[in-house]
């Protein structure tokens, strides 16, 4: 049996969580203490098996009223994939107009997420 301490990152409460687990072939969670909500518990289970994160970045836009369109992943991606996804984002260039929610890169680096725009960029020519 193993005790692990985590900080839940789902919401700003940032609950301190203590987990009791059995590490075998498959990690088994015996008890979760400290989560204030169920979302947090789900996250803890996920975190212990396959940690997931969202990331945000920017992509250069041509002909727009902003130089960059800010973007984010629309679903969490595996922690270990972050730099692969960033490498794809870094290569991308787009042209205005762009609207919030536009999918700019579908499924980067083979992940189950899309890179979507988080700002409107108008065409200025």
């Amino acid at each position: 049996m193993l005790k692990k301490n985590l900080v839940c990152i789902v919401c700003p409460n940032g609950c301190d969580v203590e987990v009791l687990l059995e590490e075998g072939q498959k990690t088994e969670i015996l008890a979760i203490d400290g989560c204030t909500c169920d979302k947090g518990k789900e996250w803890v289970a996920q975190e212990l098996t396959r940690p997931m994160r969202t990331i945000a970045s920017g992509i250069p836009v041509e002909d727009g009223d902003f130089k960059l369109v800010s973007v984010r992943t629309d679903a969490p991606i595996p922690l270990g994939k972050i730099f692969e996804v960033m490498a794809v984002i870094k290569e991308k260039r787009v042209t205005a107009p762009v609207a919030i929610g536009d999918i700019l890169i579908p499924s980067p680096a083979g992940t189950d997420c899309n890179i979507i725009a988080t700002r409107n960029v108008a065409f200025t020519g």
Binding site: G14, T36, T54, G58, L79, T118
Partner: protein
């Protein structure tokens, strides 16, 4: 010089100004003018491209620009007037403003004013870093502007002073861009940013956070070449034996925010030392009649959701004031911070209405309760698992419990 008259002028088009405007319109006020010095609405949120906004309001982890856009869309749908690229240069106690833009320099006489100017960052000067004055020293917010809005990278090898949220967010942002972030140094024994940001911005990327440690000197005549760091004792004095040189070409300062109250002061608004923001009653009115304050200019918030909520309330209060109902009360009940409380807000209340008291604690604590009392009588109590100076705590007080109150005292009960 052109002079115009308006019912309600809102200074600042960040989330506070936007929510106040939307709420004032929804409460039936026609004549509203919002003034924003930037070319776009949204305030500081425009450069906060990370997610984590709106979990309370929209039950969704939005980024800053997305969160702002929802309010901007509503603001526009309601057809509220805004002057963009326009700065308010002065405000006096009669609520007369001077306002400047490319279109002209004009005077505006307002029947009510809502202050929503946000805050600015503390600088190296304000905290007086010894050493040379090389290039490569930025506040974290300025760095965020360059990286996220201007596509400019500020350096290659970064040290961050202060564990405020903006610094933590920038540590991750720059790491993702391939910049080496050496470490974050924090003078206090606890991080000043949110625990989740320490986790997901530093721990995830193996960036060390050194507590009770600070930067004591800058090096490099031209561009920064390094900083001297050292641990401090419990009186924040440097421990000389622990001094070491950390090479870097960039230093980000994330040492706190100060409400931007220059205009408030010029209007004669009284400020609270503990918040550096105005002292307000439960209608968020300052000591200057008709001048209200909300958002980061009132007290620094960690959550934009709270800003929007507070500002919504202030919009409504301003409309009530303009409609002349009910007349401002003379006898206000003071609310005072006691044991382990750094500040409370509002600082005075009428006792006639339910009120939410916002507060911050002085130090991290666990399993404690926030207690509101009136002459030793319990008025409200809120139990919390974790109390942290970085997180604002809010506690509701019912009007029926405070009708006869003389003074409310807020404290932490362990």
């Amino acid at each position: 010089m052109q002079t115009i008259e308006r019912d309600l002028v809102i200074i600042g088009g960040g989330p506070a100004g936007l929510a106040a405007a939307v709420s004032a319109r929804k409460n039936g006020l026609d004549d509203i003018l919002l003034i924003e010095r930037d070319r776009i609405l949204g305030g500081i949120l425009n450069q906060c491209i990370h997610d984590g906004f709106g979990l309370h309001t929209f039950k969704q982890a939005l980024t800053g620009p997305e969160y702002a856009q929802r309010f901007i869309d509503e603001f526009n749908r309601l057809g509220i007037d805004a002057l963009l690229d326009t700065i308010v240069l002065s405000l006096d106690s009669n609520r007369t403003l001077t306002v400047s833009s490319k279109k002209g320099f004009i005077r505006i006489m307002a029947r009510a004013v809502i202050l929503a100017m946000g805050c600015r960052e503390r600088t190296a000067g304000a905290i007086s870093l010894p050493g040379t004055r090389p290039s490569g020293v930025y506040t974290a917010g300025a760095a965020q502007n360059f990286v996220n809005l201007q596509n400019i990278m500020i350096g290659k090898h970064v040290v961050i002073l202060g564990s405020g949220d903006i610094g933590l967010i920038m540590a991750r942002r720059m790491t993702l861009e391939g910049v080496k972030v050496e470490a974050v140094f924090e003078l206090l024994p606890t991080p000043s940013g949110l625990a989740r940001n320490v986790r997901q911005c530093l721990d995830d990327y193996g960036i060390p956070l050194f507590l009770s440690t600070s930067v004591f000197e800058l090096h490099g005549k031209d561009r920064l070449t390094g900083v001297t760091v050292a641990r401090v004792d419990d009186r924040f004095q440097m421990i000389p034996e622990t001094r070491r040189l950390v090479p870097c070409d960039t230093l980000l300062l994330s040492v706190g925010l100060i409400p931007e109250n220059e205009l408030s002061l010029s209007a004669g608004v009284r400020l609270e030392p503990a918040t550096s923001g105005a002292s307000v009653d439960d209608r968020f009115m300052t000591n200057v009649p008709g001048v209200f304050s909300c958002g980061n200019v009132l007290h620094v918030h960690d959550l934009v959701d709270h800003v929007s909520e507070e500002a919504g309330l202030v919009g409504r209060c301003a409309v009530r004031y303009l409609k002349g109902e009910p007349a401002p009360e003379e006898a206000f009940i003071p609310v005072v911070p006691k044991a382990d409380i750094r500040y409370v807000l509002p600082q005075t209340i009428s006792g006639k209405e339910d009120v939410t008291i916002s507060l911050r604690v002085t130090r991290p604590m666990r399993n404690a309760a926030v207690l509101v009392t009136d002459r030793d009588r319990k008025v409200a109590r809120k139990k919390l698992v974790r109390l942290h100076p970085a997180e604002m705590i809010r506690i509701k007080v019912k009007a029926k419990d405070i009708e006869t109150a003389e003074k409310l005292e807020v404290s932490v009960q362990c």
